[in-house]
Amino acid sequence: MLSIEHYLFLGLALFIIGVIGVVTRRNVIVVLMSIELILNAVNINLVAFSRLYGDVAGQVFALFIIADAAAEAAVGLGIIIAFFRNRETVLADEMDLLKW
């Protein structure tokens, strides 16, 4: 039988992979993608618990998280485009000025 821990471990694995991506990659686009992974890991947990208790609230919040991810991606990519236009780079460690 599949227990809730199965899903928790899957979520944990995805979360950790996402964190590693955020911390180690230099490319901001990949960092953003890793954040999407983290959000997904959270979604898995929410939906798994929603199934466990037969309550749809978890799924509703997963929906909110997806909406949030969309907003984050749009703004993040907007910033990346603006940054790329000015500095011609998408590397995180070259974003070292507060103003340019």
Partner: protein, 172 residues
């Protein structure tokens, strides 16, 4: 049994593609593997009988957000980016953080004394056949109990949209 096979298939797919996402040098490959990971997650949702979330994941994440990602990847200069060093020198920090995270969660499991397969079976409380129609249920919940968060989310999206347009607009 079938449930288990489906779960392990999608879980394995998700983890492998997630690993490839953060390790590929080529950003487009990264994005492709992220799409695979997201699709696998959608499969997990389906296996959890969250049909609406499954299709929301596909339409919004795979059909919307990732297209945006790929679009931006193609707009910004890729050739140069591939040749540059891809990983920061924070490997040890990353290892430390992930170890700490894993330890924390492991501690939790240890203190609960449960391993996967021993805990609460997800489909026991409500058998699959007795679940109400999923999209109707989600809609009812979304538009009654969670109406305010829903409105807040829509305001958030509006703000994000305006923000993205302002960011990406060419300054003249």
């Amino acid at each position: 049994m079938l449930d288990k096979v489906i779960f392990y298939f999608f879980a394995g797919l998700a983890v492998i593609s997630a690993v490839l996402t953060v390790t590929r040098r080529n950003i487009v490959h990264s994005a492709i593997f992220l799409i695979t990971a997201l699709l696998a997650t959608a499969g997990i949702f389906l296996q959890l009988r969250a049909e609406f979330l499954f299709i929301a994941q596909i339409i919004l994440y795979v059909g919307g957000i990732m297209v945006l990602f790929i679009f931006v990847i193609m707009l910004v200069n890729l050739d140069v980016a591939v040749r540059q060093m891809q990983f920061a020198r924070q490997k040890w920090v990353a290892l430390l953080i992930s170890l700490a995270l894993a330890a924390q969660v492991g501690l939790m499991f240890w203190s609960a004394g449960k391993l996967p397969g021993q805990g609460l079976p997800v489909s026991e409380a409500v058998p699959a056949a007795q679940l109400p129609p999923n999209s109707e249920e989600v809609a009812r919940s979304l538009f009654s109990s969670y109406l305010l968060p829903f409105e807040i989310a829509s305001v958030l999206l509006l703000v994000a949209m305006i923000g993205a347009v302002v960011m990406a607009k060419k300054r003249t």
